[in-house]
Symmetry: C2
Subunit: 242 residues, 2 copies
């Protein structure tokens, strides 16, 4: 008996996959960093010996993942540029994944609670006076944001994302933001069903204030519980059993 594994089925490797793999490798090993520009499509064509079709399909895949951005024209910032803004792409992917994998809203909310609970705890530990001021400012903005729901929601999102950022975990911040964005439309629909969303918003503002105070006081466990309750309660009362 040898240590060899069983036969591995050969898969047809398409041209654009190889192009994609080469670019991804240059990103992973640091050759290509955020903000840098990759060669023009026509240059890649001659450098890789494939058609522009294949090059473009690879670039399209990268763009769908939020890895690059394409800008037309000539000059310094034209061409395909590597970007670090993959959060929107992550959001979009999650949104589709939720629909296809038939993941329940309950699972998503539970996951969000897990992440936000830890973010609140971390924020309470490492917050600075400036952080607290920023949070208070956002809450104040929410209190006076009586124009429309979109405005309120934008501030609400920034509040929670800011807490995650304060906690210092960049990945958790991005995931939180993506999960939030993936159910943004559902949340908007839930708000639209409310007879008076302003009253509910008032309650949320009060809860936000309590969270800010707990973070300010450095009471991590309390902040975590407040955030968890804040999210769970809204979901239970307004979305699941409206």
């Amino acid at each position: 008996m040898t240590t060899e594994a069983a036969w591995e089925p050969v898969r047809r490797v398409r041209m654009h996959e190889q192009v994609l793999a080469q670019i991804e490798e240059k990103i992973l090993d640091g050759t290509l960093g955020a903000g840098e520009k990759l060669p023009s499509e026509r240059e890649l064509v001659s450098a890789l010996g494939v058609s522009r079709t294949s090059v473009r399909e690879a670039l399209r895949a990268l763009e769908a993942m939020g890895i690059i951005e394409a800008r037309t024209g000539s000059g310094a910032d034209a061409g395909s540029v590597v970007t670090a803004r993959s959060t929107p792409a992550l959001t979009n992917l999650l949104r589709l994944h939720l629909a296809l994998a038939r993941i329940s809203l309950a699972d998503l909310v539970e996951t969000r609670v897990q992440l936000e609970r830890n973010a609140a705890r971390g924020a309470a530990e490492s917050r600075t006076p400036e952080d607290v001021a920023r949070l208070s400012e956002l809450v104040e903005g929410m209190r006076t944001a009586d124009q429309e729901y979109a405005q309120f929601n934008a501030l609400d999102t920034e509040f929670h994302v800011t807490i995650a950022r304060i906690s210092g975990n960049a990945l958790a911040t991005d995931l939180m933001q993506a999960l939030r964005g993936a159910v943004e439309s559902e949340m908007a629909a839930a708000f639209a069903r409310l007879p008076d969303w302003r009253a509910v918003a008032g309650d949320l503002v009060t809860e936000h204030e309590m969270i800010v105070r707990a973070v300010e006081a450095g009471e991590g466990d309390r902040a975590a519980e407040l955030v968890a309750g804040h999210i769970t309660r809204f979901y239970q009362d307004r979305v699941l059993n409206p």
Copy 2:
């Protein structure tokens, strides 16, 4: 002063983006579900009034997100098929995102711990005897997997993913799996640096056994702490300060 917002800059909407948007919408509203086949590229061309180039670039974007799979040939299962297997794509996206956003391994491990802690707690609550048997089976496999690291790692991954699955949260399961996959190469490198990885693997197996026992006993908090320590310790001792 009106309630109108400021002018919104118009962006050039490319053809393939519109194609992509239409397909995504059909997925989001349930018209297109997992396993279903979309029209052939040439049909889409005549249905949408665009060139095959644009159709293909949209499909390529969907494929990069793991939403569809393309199979050549004719017959029933040929063509572009909607799939629910977006976890590999999520893994790949996260891997690139980590490199570009310069997210530290510490942040990733911390996030993993958060998710796994909750998964262990949930698993201890809702485990069945079959679940426990499955976990024990995996641990036993790890004990006898002395051939090579890849084999051990595959079982290790399945162990943790199984715990998440037992907890019942499909999204957390997928995220855990993706995060794990995103750092698989780093972990393999860490193992390769060990003078005797089999000894370390033995410790890991012992820890796994303790986790299984806690899950079996329904001791959620204890299972959570064990998993957290299990992951953090390995990372601290073997990766950060090897």
